[in-house]
Symmetry: C2
Subunit: 157 residues, 2 copies
Amino acid sequence: MADEALFQFLHSEIIQYVNSVESGESENGRCVSKLESMGFRVGQGLIERFTKDTPRFKDELDFMKFICKDFWTSVFKKQIDNLRTNHQGIYVLQDNKFRLLSQLSSGKQYLEHAPKFLAFTCGLVRGALSNLGVKSIVTAEVSVMPACKFQVMIQKM
Amino acid sequence: MADEALFQFLHSEIIQYVNSVESGESENGRCVSKLESMGFRVGQGLIERFTKDTPRFKDELDFMKFICKDFWTSVFKKQIDNLRTNHQGIYVLQDNKFRLLSQLSSGKQYLEHAPKFLAFTCGLVRGALSNLGVKSIVTAEVSVMPACKFQVMIQKM
């Protein structure tokens, strides 16, 4: 419980700071991309630790299951609630109570701030997949807080 | 173990980012003070969670023991190794293997970078004490990595 709090508080501080720094015209875009790239590097580091004693993955779906279960549980203390795929390289990970949104009020007026709270995690997933040898584009979408969907598009080499 | 890694990686990212942003003449000073103030707010938040079900503290020494044991263990997965005081408001907390320095090489040439790696934690302690109603100045000092000493000077009202 303490660890979660530490991560959540630190995550909020980062958002606040990056947001205050990356100001100007395209402010929101730059803030989001900065947070994403931080997440990317953290994701790369984490997946190395997590998979140290893991057997080899069979395939792409096997990776994704690992991300949804083990990886998500380590970072967010719960599994992804729903994983869907079109079997052509697109995966949708749904978290019905995403921890990093749960501090935000669920009012619609805060929806515009959601991207800042999701960017780090998009990067986290992209970084983890990247170290597993999978290039991807990860985006996130919120319709009703604190539920959200992460869409992973695998980039074929 | 995963949680520790998450905190460590995130902490490194923050240092790197803040350091890249707060450049200029007094670069190091501003970077350190920014990190300290982030730590302060995180410390304030954490201590609220941690002390939710804790009995009231008897006195200043009782606070400090809580910081050295429970608080330190939650954040750094180990206790402070040694706590000393002059009984006049100065406390020295020694950690013989401080986690946030353990990634750094112990070579002397890196000693100059140590303040950046300690600032967040100085703030963390100051923030925690502040929410317990104790105003303090917290500084840190490294002689041989990864051992370090945090000095807490309680400010009498």
